[in-house]
């Protein structure tokens, strides 16, 4: 086939395929480089970066649930400086053509703004994912993502300084996600990524205490896929922003299901832990899957779905 049926273009990101590892599930990229050639990926969504280094939450930080997992990593990262001088350059040298999405988090608006202003300076960072929905930190994070006004202010402030397009990552832990989506759209966001994790808890029957040291964690994996699809279709019908969808994707069929809900590209998180080769496997399975369901290309599918929503 002359034409690449998997390619997709969204603000800042001209991707050869829509598959990218989700933020926090793939480190700063190089960790998985011994398993496959990262050039196969559409992009990589890097681990959250904050202005200063963070250690994150006490351990245990992960536990398992039916068809899902809880994590309370707490945004551990080496801070903007190290990310800019070491992490992104390492990828840029080894994979100069691979676009990276930087994930930005912070405790205060000033933090976010400073990181957003600088992080686009890395030549391979083509977009920012503004993480206003991390459920695992006391300050910032989800706080900004559950209040439409704060979400608006933060997005606007970050947009005014960022040198690359901004995708705002929405939290599912809200009564009305459309309200938040519209606020960040009004504030100038270039796109959305959704969903971040739901909040969950598991207890140990032996200790009678929560398994996670942080008590609560973020629920991810196939367990949340129907919730992700619900929120994506709801937002896709009400805003014009392109959506990078995520939440439980394990197969090429799942990718298409996210397109049917209105996503323009997708990220794969938890599944990397189940199978480190999951991303290339999905990418390789997609063409046959498109054939099977009679889909010409992902861009055509996206357009068809958007058209359908308009007339619904």
């Amino acid at each position: 086939m002359a034409e690449n049926r998997l390619k997709i273009s969204i603000p800042g990101l001209n991707l050869k395929n829509p598959i990218m590892p989700a933020s926090g599930c793939f480190g700063f990229g190089t960790e998985y480089a011994k398993y496959f050639d990262l050039n196969q990926l559409g992009s990589i969504m890097a681990k959250a970066t904050t202005l200063e280094a963070r250690f994150g939450n006490p351990t245990p930080r992960v536990t398992e649930t039916s068809s899902g997992m809880l994590n309370a990593i707490g945004l551990q990262n080496p801070g903007l400086e190290v990310v800019l001088t070491e992490k992104f350059p390492a990828l840029a040298v080894a994979y100069p053509e691979l676009p990276i999405v930087a994930n930005v988090a912070g405790s205060t608006q000033e933090d976010y703004v400073e990181v957003c202003a600088k992080i686009g300076g890395a030549p391979n960072v083509k977009a920012i994912e503004l993480n206003i929905s991390c459920p695992n930190v006391k300050h910032g994070g989800q706080m900004f993502g559950t209040d439409p006004k704060q979400a608006y202010e933060l997005t606007k402030a970050c947009k005014s300084v960022a040198t690359v397009p901004i995708y705002v990552k929405l939290s599912p832990n809200v009564t009305d996600i459309v309200e938040i989506a519209k606020s960040v759209e009004d504030a100038g966001a270039d796109g959305l990524t959704m969903i971040n994790t739901l909040m969950g808890v598991r207890y140990s029957l032996k200790t009678r205490q929560p398994i996670l040291a942080n008590v609560t964690g973020g629920l991810s994996g196939p367990a949340i896929k129907p919730v992700a699809l619900k929120l994506i279709q709801q937002v896709a019908k009400e805003t014009d922003l392109p959506i990078i969808g995520m939440g439980g994707i394990m197969t090429a069929e799942d990718v298409i299901e996210f397109y049917l809900a209105g996503a323009s590209a997708v990220a794969v998180g938890t599944a990397n832990f189940t199978d480190p080769l999951i991303c290339p496997k999905i990418i390789n399975a997609l063409p046959d899957c498109l054939d099977f369901y009679g889909i010409e290309s992902l861009e055509a599918l996206r357009d068809e779905v958007k058209e359908g929503f308009k007339h619904a």
Partner: protein
């Protein structure tokens, strides 16, 4: 890899023999495999240490205790079943510069004993004199006693006194120091309590190592699930990852 034998060693304790090309890459004792549970509902792999590696037959053995859903499913797998294996992972025990005639304390507690078996074997092949100090909860969960005894001195303690010395491994260590003097090498794997004791006892021993456990997701250093604080770090920012900086660390370095 292919499961070729499953043995019930003791109540809830099983030994799995796996066959496959991957064995070629298993060179260092103390490394672990990250096993996918064959159940669609369970997404996280299970880290299990290599207990024995046999290059000639391309097999390796894992010993595991049934703790929860995943190990329970492992215990019901049958000969010929395929098992999805990542690894070998982790740094393993550093035995590059051990010398013949050195004395090594090989300390294993309960389900921490398995990796010590392959370690002992490899140390012996390098001429090291091994003193194996093993602790178990009670008599009927002891496993591999004969196999360890074939390798060298083996002392056993049980928490409830039903076999060997009454008490925990700490006592065995004290006794062994009295009997054999300070060891040139120390290697330990077991419960957090055991590791703490070893860490304290051999705080500034130049060649003492402990194998750490942590809840893991990726096991390749990408998710930051398995971090441990480094001792005496004022910033609070220093850490190691058990999955790829470890699971083996020098004593005296970490906040256990």
């Amino acid at each position: 890899m292919t499961l070729i034998e499953q043995k019930n060693l003791a109540p809830q304790i099983f030994e799995m023999t796996l066959y496959g090309k991957l064995v070629k890459e298993m060179e260092v004792p103390g490394q672990f495999l990250h096993l996918r549970v064959p159940s669609a509902e369970l997404l996280l792999r299970r880290p299990i240490s290599l207990a024995e590696i046999d290059q000639t037959t391309e097999t390796c053995k894992l010993i595991y205790r049934v703790e929860g859903k995943g190990t329970d499913i492992f215990s019901k797998m049958k000969d010929g079943d395929q098992i999805d294996v990542m690894g070998p992972l982790g740094n393993g025990f550093d035995i590059g510069n051990v010398k013949a005639e050195e004395t090594a304390f090989i300390i294993g507690g309960g389900i921490g004993a398995p990796p010590m078996y392959e370690l002992s074997k490899e140390l012996i092949s390098k001429g090291v004199k091994v003193i194996q100090l093993l602790g178990f909860a009670t008599k009927n969960v002891i496993f591999y006693e004969e196999k360890f005894k074939k390798l060298g001195v083996t002392r056993i303690a049980t928490d409830d006194g039903t076999y060997g010395m009454h008490g925990h491994v700490g006592h065995l260590i004290d006794q062994a120091i009295e009997e054999f003097g300070q060891p040139d090498l120390v290697y330990a794997c077991g419960s957090n309590g055991l590791l703490k004791a070893v860490d304290r006892k051999f705080d500034d021993h130049p060649k003492a190592y402990i194998s750490m456990e942590a809840r893991m997701a990726c096991a390749v250093g990408a998710c930051y699930a398995c971090v441990v604080h480094v001792k005496d770090d004022e910033t609070g920012m220093s850490y190691v990852k058990v999955c790829d900086d470890g699971p083996i660390f020098e004593t005296g370095k970490l906040v256990i």
